[in-house]
Structures are given as structure tokens and as C-alpha cells.
């Protein structure tokens, strides 16, 4: 049965010459799991909102949207609200009430469902999502992943037939995101809910999807099963950068046959296509010996006197001009390291030296004056003014001059409100603001969170540019692909101490579980190939296997 049919949908925003969506056509059958992907600003959000009547933006539209055989405008108000569920990006802001159980009840209350039925549905849904233990809690104390599961549950409680999700995992760490996808897949399998998901975190999703839609500048350019769509996709298409490593490798190494979607597929079907004469790339030249920008020696830190140690005997050092990535699981103490260096917290034991000087010796504001700057995880908290220009002028009047060597053109965004910028642009604008304080050591907390592949690459370029200007960068991240591609060295933090630190090729090839998808694909075939580019390079140099 057709669940959703979109026919010749064209949408134009007021005061815009160009339509955002041009002649979009597709149908979804009941129980299908479809993924839309496309670069930021290609119209994904607009498309999803056109399918949810309550959220349709002010615009002129032509074409039709039919839900289960009824045109969308003709659906009853309650039917439309209940049967089409919508989950948005920000976990925090979708929550309405101050108790988890009340949040679950909210949708049902709106529909006028009687008490007894509400109670039963809440109990049911809480047991299905495994959230009985936190029913009585205030949502503010939940983790981001739990909040997003709550948002999903409070939509599912209305028993929708179609679920629309707009980048639901953008603000989550990889483990919470994987949990979320698993839950989605279970919903799809157990209740045949039709799912339409817009995402740029595609590594886990694409192997599970029934259908893949590619949206480019407002038009659906490809639509079909993931394997078929990805096989035809041009290697230089903008969406390619966000595809799973297996897909990128298939195109970069010019593989033949069916396009692999997962690591397993790539190892069994793609890798045997290539010969194995050369199994290793030469090590990059060792960097010249440089002074240390930062040095931790046996540092201990805890938040409360009777609490546990968050940093327990942490020792490591970062050389001047280096880009050092600190990776590790949730609660390993990554963000704490940064706040200790930035002077927001004080270690109770051990020695921290910044540019050869003990951290205690930086009196008053000297630690922050032309020395250390911390860019927090939520970059919105950096902005205090109405435009980017005012934001920069706040720190220095002749910001244009001082930022002349900033490796990104800031001119187009100067007049905009910082909150109106895309996630990637916000990150770069915040970086620009921070650079005006002339830091020599830049601390970044999860800078790639919520960014698509293109913005991540842009951010990496900016960071490399700053490195060339002599800035040392310490970056804390969950994003191991980013670390593998762009770091000079990576460190693995676990339970408050540094387990290992090395250049990415050695670091990730020696890890078996905590490593990149490309490294898991190439393992056993080649050694020390941890990025798609390195693996593809080796494949191409070896050529195709004979027979």
C-alpha cells in the first residue's frame, strides 16, 4: 500500500526568485525505511516540513502530497497530528513539559484521549523503549541520547503510520546515535512504520535503508535502493563525501560489481578485487623536533572532594604548531581536560605547563591573554551580539585587518545574525571571534558535532590554515574519521588517563575496535591504511588481482 505520494511538488518561499524545491516526485510504500541525503541547504528540511501539515512554512506551492490515499490538506486535524510523526534535530528544545511521563502524555492530552487509555499507553511505550526508570524524572537531567529517545517515544505514543525525522542524531555522540538508529530500525521492523529520515551521518543508516533519495538543489536526482543509487552516483557528487567508507572506497578505487554498503560487504566483495604486492604506504616524514606547547605530568582532578577522579594520572604533551586530537568514549574526561587547561577548573595534583610556564604562574588574565582559548561544544554560547560584525568588533575594532590572514572568507556572513548561520558557519564565525584574542593554544571541544561532510572539510581547512599561522590546536572529539584524516597525532583517553598517543596511521591501525571504517575494511589486506584515500591509493597502486 502506498503510504506517501509526492507529485510534482514545487515550493517557493516569499521574496525568493528561485524555488527551494523543484518538481519533487516520489512514493513511499507502507513499512519502507527511506533516507534522504543532500548537502546543507539543499531543501531537506523544507521537504520534510511540507509533508507535515502543522509545520508547513509560509510559501507558495504547487503539486500534491497524498498520505494513505488522502490529499494532505483534507486530513482531519487530529488525524494529521497523530498519524504523521515528526522528530527534529535539537533534543532539548522539542521537550515541552517538566516530567518525562507528562511529556509522553502531552500528545495524547492534545488529542483528548481519556485518562485510563493514556495511562496504559504510557506504560506500554515506557516498557518498549526501556524508560520505566526515568518516567518520574525532569527531562533536563537526561543525557542527549535519552532526550532524543524521549522525543521519539512521545511521537510514537500517538501511533503514527509515517515517521519523519530531520537529522535526529546531529547533536548526539556516535554511541547514542547508533542506539537511536537501532531503535528506529526496530520500530520499522516491528510495526511497519514508514520512515523518512534526513541525515548526514550515513555510515550506519545506509546499509539498513530500503530506499535512498538524493536531493540536490531542490530536486530529487536519484531514488532507488541504496546499492543501485550509489553505484550510479558520480564520484565527485557533493553528497559523496558523506557516504559510508565502503561506498567512497568503491568509487575511489574504481571497484566493479555491486556497490558495497557496509564494512562487511567491502571486505568480502570489494577488497579481494585488488592485488596485494605493496601492502604498506611509507610513513610520513617525522616532524622536526619542536618546543612543547602543553605538558601534563601526572595530573589528577575531581569535581567534588568525595567524588571520583575524572583525570587520574594524566600525562601527555603537545608540541608547538601541532594539531592533536584527543579521542575516547563518553565520560572519559575529554572535556574536563580542556576546562582544566583553560583554567575553568584546577587540578589538585600534578603539573601542567603551558609554553614552558606553570599554569599557576599565569596570574590574573594572562592565561587568556594571547595564550589559551577554549571554544566550547555549544558554539552558540560564544555569541552575544546581533550580527557577526558586531560580534567581532566587540573584541577588536579593526578586526578586518587583524583577521586578514584568517583562512576563510568572512565577508558574506558579517551582516547576519549568528543564530541564522548554519552549524558549520557558526563554528567558523566562533573561530574567527576566538582568533581575535590571538591565542597560541586553541582548545576545541567537539567542533564537528552536527556538521555535514562538506562543512567538516571546510572546518579542517580553516584549522590547517590556523596551524600554518603558528597556532597549536588541541581538539577533543568523538569523530574518529575526522581525527584520522586531519590530526598530526591522536591520543586515546580512557578513565582519565592517556592510554596511547601516536600519528593517526599507526594509532588507528593498531586499534581493532576503536578505529575508522576504512581501517576495518583494509585490515588484513593492507597495513596502516586508515583513511579511504590511503586505502584507495594502495588499491590503485596494486592494480586489480588476476583471475
Amino acid at each position: 500500500m502506498v503510504s506517501l505520494a509526492v507529485g510534482h511538488l514545487t515550493v517557493t518561499y516569499p521574496e525568493c526568485a528561485e524555488p527551494v524545491l523543484k518538481d519533487v516526485n516520489f512514493t513511499l510504500h507502507e513499512g519502507e525505511f527511506a533516507v534522504i541525503c543532500g548537502a546543507t541547504g539543499c531543501g531537506k528540511t523544507t521537504l520534510l516540513r511540507m509533508l507535515k501539515r502543522e509545520l508547513t512554512p509560509l510559501c507558495t506551492q504547487s503539486g500534491s502530497v497524498t498520505f494513505c490515499g488522502t490529499p494532505l490538506p483534507e486530513l482531519g486535524a487530529r488525524e494529521a497530528a497523530a498519524e504523521i510523526g515528526f522528530v527534529m534535530q535539537h533534543p532539548e528544545q522539542q521537550i515541552v513539559t517538566d516530567r518525562v511521563w507528562h511529556e509522553l502524555a502531552f500528545g495524547l492530552e492534545n488529542l483528548g484521549v481519556p485518562q485510563d487509555i493514556m495511562r496504559r499507553r504510557i506504560a506500554e511505550i515506557a516498557s518498549y523503549f526501556g524508560m520505566e526508570d526515568w518516567l518520574e524524572q525532569d527531562p533536563a537531567v537526561l543525557s542527549g541520547g535519552q532526550k532524543q529517545i524521549l522525543n521519539l517515544a512521545s511521537v510514537m505514543i500517538m501511533q503514527p503510520k509515517l515517521l519523519l525525522l530531520d537529522e535526529p542524531t546531529a547533536q548526539l555522540d556516535p554511541i547514542a546515535a547508533a542506539d537511536f538508529f537501532t531503535t528506529l530500525q526496530r520500530l520499522n521492523r516491528d510495526f511497519s512504520v514508514t520512515i523518512l529520515l534526513a541525515e548526514h551521518r550515513l555510515e550506519e543508516v545506509i546499509p539498513q535503508a530500503d530506499r535512498l533519495l538524493i536531493l540536490e538543489q531542490g530536486t530529487v536526482t536519484c531514488c532507488g535502493t541504496p546499492a543501485a543509487v550509489l553505484r550510479k552516483l558520480a564520484p565527485d557528487a557533493p553528497v559523496m563525501a558523506g557516504m559510508p567508507a565502503a561506498v567512497r572506497l568503491y568509487h575511489a578505487a574504481k571497484g566493479t560489481g555491486e556497490c558495497p554498503l557496509s564494512v562487511n560487504d567491502a571486505r568480502t566483495k570489494l577488497m579481494p578485487q585488488f592485488a596485494r604486492h605493496i601492502t604498506e604506504l611509507p610513513d610520513p616524514p617525522a616532524p622536526p623536533q619542536r618546543d612543547e606547547a602543553l605538558r601534563f605530568r601526572e595530573v589528577f582532578f575531581r569535581y567534588e572532594r568525595r567524588g571520583r577522579d575524572i583525570l587520574a594520572g594524566l600525562s601527555f604533551s603537545v608540541s608547538c604548531g601541532e594539531l592533536f586530537c584527543l579521542v575516547g568514549g563518553n565520560g572519559a574526561g575529554k572535556s574536563t581536560v580542556l576546562s582544566v587547561i583553560a583554567g575553568l577548573h584546577r587540578a589538585y595534583a600534578g603539573k601542567i605547563e603551558i609554553f614552558g610556564k606553570k599554569i599557576q604562574d599565569y596570574k590574573n588574565r594572562t592565561l587568556h591573554q594571547n595564550c589559551v582559548t577554549l571554544l566550547p561544544q555549544d558554539v552558540q554560547t560564544v555569541f552575544l551580539k546581533n550580527t557577526v560584525a558586531e560580534e567581532l568588533a566587540e573584541i577588536s575594532r579593526n578586526y578586518a585587518e587583524e583577521l586578514s590572514d584568517f583562512p576563510f572568507p568572512l565577508q558574506p556572513m558579517l551582516a547576519q545574525h549568528p543564530y541564522d548561520l548554519s552549524g558549520g558557519q557558526q563554528q567558523i564565525a566562533a573561530l574567527a571571534k576566538v582568533m581575535l584574542t590571538h591565542p597560541r593554544l586553541l582548545l576545541l571541544d567537539e567542533p564537528t558535532k552536527g556538521l555535514d561532510a562538506h562543512s567538516r572539510r571546510q572546518l579542517a581547512e580553516v584549522l590547517h590554515g590556523l596551524q600554518k599561522n603558528g597556532v597549536t590546536i588541541l581538539l577533543v572529539t568523538h569523530d574518529i574519521e575526522f581525527a584520522a584524516c586531519h590530526a598530526d597525532r591522536c591520543g586515546f583517553l580512557s578513565a582519565g588517563s592517556l592510554i596511547s598517543a601516536d600519528i593517526p596511521t599507526r594509532f588507528f591501525s593498531e586499534n581493532a575496535f576503536y578505529t575508522t571504517a576504512a581501517s576495518r575494511i583494509s585490515r588484513g589486506f593492507y597495513s596502516r591504511a586508515v583513511t579511504v584515500e590511503q586505502t584507495a591509493g594502495l588499491c590503485l597502486r596494486n592494480g586489480r588481482a588476476e583471475g
Partner: protein
């Protein structure tokens, strides 16, 4: 076992408020004494030992008032002695003691009320008045938490950027204003998403119902009926003047007639309702469990 805490908040609130109100509007020492004893009993039953500071403070009030009142109050005829040519009278001493007793009893009742009535239960009561107001209240509480969190985040971020001079008052104030103004912007942005999430889940599609965690059971009805009955008796007696008492110029106790005895008995039962309830419940459960 259904403890007094788990009873329906409406019944509990009516019981506690009526008990406390009668204490406020009555000056009969025996009734106040009963009220204080029952309140202390209920408090101990709920909170157990500990809270020494509170007990000391509350129980000290009658003594303190008894000592202080005669210093200001010259009424009364039975002079005990003179301080600086001021007469200290027996009546004034007694009046001070009774007033203190009343205050202490009320203090205990409200302490019990605030311990028992968590925010969740207050919302439930508010919902009786207006479901919409309750929703607004619930959202407001949530937003306050969010604001505080975001404010702390912004302040930490600004500190990490090193934009503030340390210990500089003008800087701190100016920084505070900027943070506040951006917080408003953030709240408005936030509100748009929340509003979208509300309409997406059918807010405003027609009549709403309201979900609560509390049920109305037979026991609650019994509790409410008992409360109203006992309180009714006491109030009727008070309005007939059976508990009126003169303190000045001479302390005259009211006539200890039928009405007086009824009022005291009814009030004792009213104030003891929590203890009686718990006693009954634990007895029943003790018997049930001993059958296992």
C-alpha cells in the same frame, strides 16, 4: 501499603489546611495543645528522628512568647512581680504562652504540608482549577531550569574565551547584561522550536484531556468525608462561641459543656487522621504479611 504520602493530594491538602486553619482561628489552650501534639506526632511519623534544630526552634516559641509578652503587655489583674516599675501579670504570661503554642502548631502543620506536597502534587491540584494554567506552569518550571543551564554555559564559555577581567565590577555587570540579552534571543529561538514541536503533536486541535499520576480511590473519599465531618463539627462549635476565651483582665475558661467536649474530641480526631491512617494501614499489612 498506601502511606499518607500516597493518598490523593486533594484529600490530603484539605485535611492539612483545615487542621491548620482551625488552629489559626482558635485560642482555646487545650485545642492548641492537642494540635501541637498531633502535629509533632505526624511530623515524627513522616520524617523520623533528626531535625533537632527545627524541633528546638518550634518548641521554644511558646516559652519565648510567654517570657516576652508580659514585657510589653500590661493588661491583666494578677500581678506576679515588678520589673522597672512595670507589672508582670499572670494573664499576660499565659496569653504569650498560648499565642506561642498556636504559632508552633501552625509551623509544624505547614512544615508537614510542604514536605508532603511535592511540586508534582501541587500541579495536580492546580489542574483542578485550570488544566491550561497547569500546563503553562509546568512549561515555565522547565524553562527556568533551561535558562539557568544555558546561562551557566554562556558564562563558562565567555570565561574560557577570556573576555572578562578578573574581579572587575563594571566588567562583570556589563558582561551580565550582555549575557542576559543574548539569553532572551536564545529563549525566543528556543520557543519557536518548542512551539513547532507542540503543534506537530496536535496542540490546539480541540478539547484537551489532562493526564495525572494520582487516582481517586475509596480511601480518599473516606478520608475527605472524615475530614469534612470533624472539621464541620469543630467549626459549628467555634461559631457558637463554645471555645471563646477571655484573657484580660482575668483569664476565664469557657464553660466545659457538651459543645466544648465535642469540639475537642472532633478536633483531636481531625488532627490525628494521618496517624490513624498510617496506623490502620500498617496493622492491616502486618496481618496480611504474617499470613505469608
Amino acid at each position: 501499603m498506601r502511606t499518607y504520602d500516597a493518598m490523593n493530594p486533594a484529600a490530603v491538602a484539605v485535611q492539612l489546611l483545615l487542621t491548620a486553619c482551625i488552629t489559626v482561628f482558635c485560642m482555646e489552650p487545650l485545642l492548641l495543645g492537642v494540635s501541637l501534639c498531633c502535629a509533632v506526632g505526624c511530623f515524627l511519623m513522616r520524617s523520623g528522628a533528626g531535625h533537632k534544630g527545627f524541633h528546638l526552634f518550634a518548641l521554644g516559641i511558646p516559652l519565648l512568647f510567654a517570657l516576652l509578652n508580659p514585657l510589653w503587655n500590661q493588661h491583666g489583674t494578677s500581678v506576679l512581680f515588678f520589673i522597672n516599675d512595670r507589672a508582670i501579670t499572670k494573664e499576660a504570661l499565659f496569653f504569650g504562652f498560648v499565642t506561642g503554642l498556636r504559632l508552633a502548631a501552625v509551623l509544624y502543620w505547614f512544615r508537614i504540608f510542604s514536605d508532603l506536597m511535592t511540586s508534582e502534587k501541587l500541579f495536580y491540584l492546580l489542574r483542578f482549577l485550570s488544566p491550561k494554567l497547569a500546563l503553562v506552569f509546568s512549561m515555565a518550571v522547565r524553562n527556568l531550569t533551561l535558562f539557568r543551564q544555558q546561562m551557566r554555559k554562556i558564562q563558562a564559555a565567555q570565561k574560557g574565551l577570556g573576555l572578562y577581567r578578573e574581579k572587575h565590577l563594571i566588567d562583570d555587570v556589563r558582561g551580565g547584561i550582555r549575557v542576559f540579552s543574548v539569553l532572551i534571543t536564545w529563549a525566543l529561538e528556543n520557543g519557536i522550536v518548542t512551539a513547532a514541536s507542540m503543534t506537530a503533536r496536535g496542540y490546539g486541535t480541540g478539547r484537551r484531556t489532562s493526564c495525572t499520576n494520582f487516582r481517586w480511590k475509596r480511601q480518599d473519599a473516606v478520608l475527605l468525608l472524615c475530614t469534612l465531618l470533624f472539621a464541620g463539627v469543630v467549626i459549628v462549635c467555634i461559631s457558637r462561641g463554645s471555645l471563646d476565651r477571655e484573657f484580660y483582665p482575668v483569664s476565664v475558661p469557657p464553660e466545659h459543656g457538651f459543645c466544648w467536649y465535642t469540639a475537642i474530641a472532633a478536633y483531636t480526631l481531625l488532627a490525628l487522621l494521618p496517624v490513624l491512617h498510617e496506623g490502620k494501614e500498617s496493622l492491616i499489612w502486618y496481618r496480611l504479611r504474617s499470613g505469608i
